[in-house]
Symmetry: C2
Subunit: 123 residues, 2 copies
DNA sequence: ACCGATATATCTGAAAACGATATATTGTCC
DNA sequence: GGACAATATATCGTTTTCAGATATATCGGT
């Protein structure tokens, strides 16, 4: 069980954020999320792949297959395949929008839980 | 359409937070949420009442009926009824826990979206 | 008398979540 | 060389969640 209940929205935000740092393939994304959250967030296959598919359908990310060849299998068969994803311009816009929306939502929640809230210095 | 996708967790956090300020009845809670969020968060009946029911089942909140009598109807019928909810000790604990969890989750998200994060000064 | 607001509650169709399952390759240890 | 864990992608199917619609009734103002 994941440490936090984190749903669609947040998963999208996290994946788009990761891809903003450069192209990644699915499995690496799931490992990265676990690593960078110190195991507290998990992006399981059943969540990750449908999400990536949805993001691509919306044109937010673009995929490309990589044929990973091992010396061992050189010459035969298909070898392992990786599907790399990169952020599209549209995805970049969506990310900015999601970050903005996340901050706004957070500010509202703060008014309920009585969080002091930081001064709006920059931006 | 609600301005934000805010789901179960957050709704629970908000409701428990509101009840921490004192007892409230359902309809007032929904109005309060809309007011305090400047219309950006909505707790519709289809979400609110099942949530309150679930919170009560878990023993986090305690309900009590109030018979609201108008002069007009004095003496007859049932009159309007309000169901007041107050936070239980268990609910108070859950709220603290949820706030803590919310902050932890937020910190993790910050590492992904590249938020500077405030110094851990107090606490 | 009517209408909009107050007040609580469920129903239901759709969407989302996620563990389980499927399939195949690769690296490592003995 | 054989077994096993890790890498890699993907779907399936059950359960849960969501939120609009619906139901019912009272109250306040005009």
């Amino acid at each position: 069980m994941a440490m936090f209940d984190w749903k669609g929205e947040s998963a999208e935000l996290v994946v788009l954020s990761l891809l903003a740092d450069g192209p990644q393939y699915g499995y690496a994304i799931s490992k990265d999320v676990a690593l960078r959250s110190e195991g507290q967030l998990r992006l399981t296959p059943g969540v990750l792949y449908p999400l990536l598919k949805a993001l691509e359908t919306q044109g937010l990310i673009i995929s490309e297959w990589e044929a990973v060849r091992s010396e061992r299998s050189a010459g035969e068969g298909e070898g392992r395949r990786r599907k790399w994803y990169k952020l599209s311009a549209k995805g970049r816009k969506r990310l900015d929008q999601r970050i903005h929306s996340h901050r706004a939502f957070r500010r509202i929640i703060d008014t309920f839980i009585g969080e002091p809230g930081r001064e709006e210095t920059s931006r």
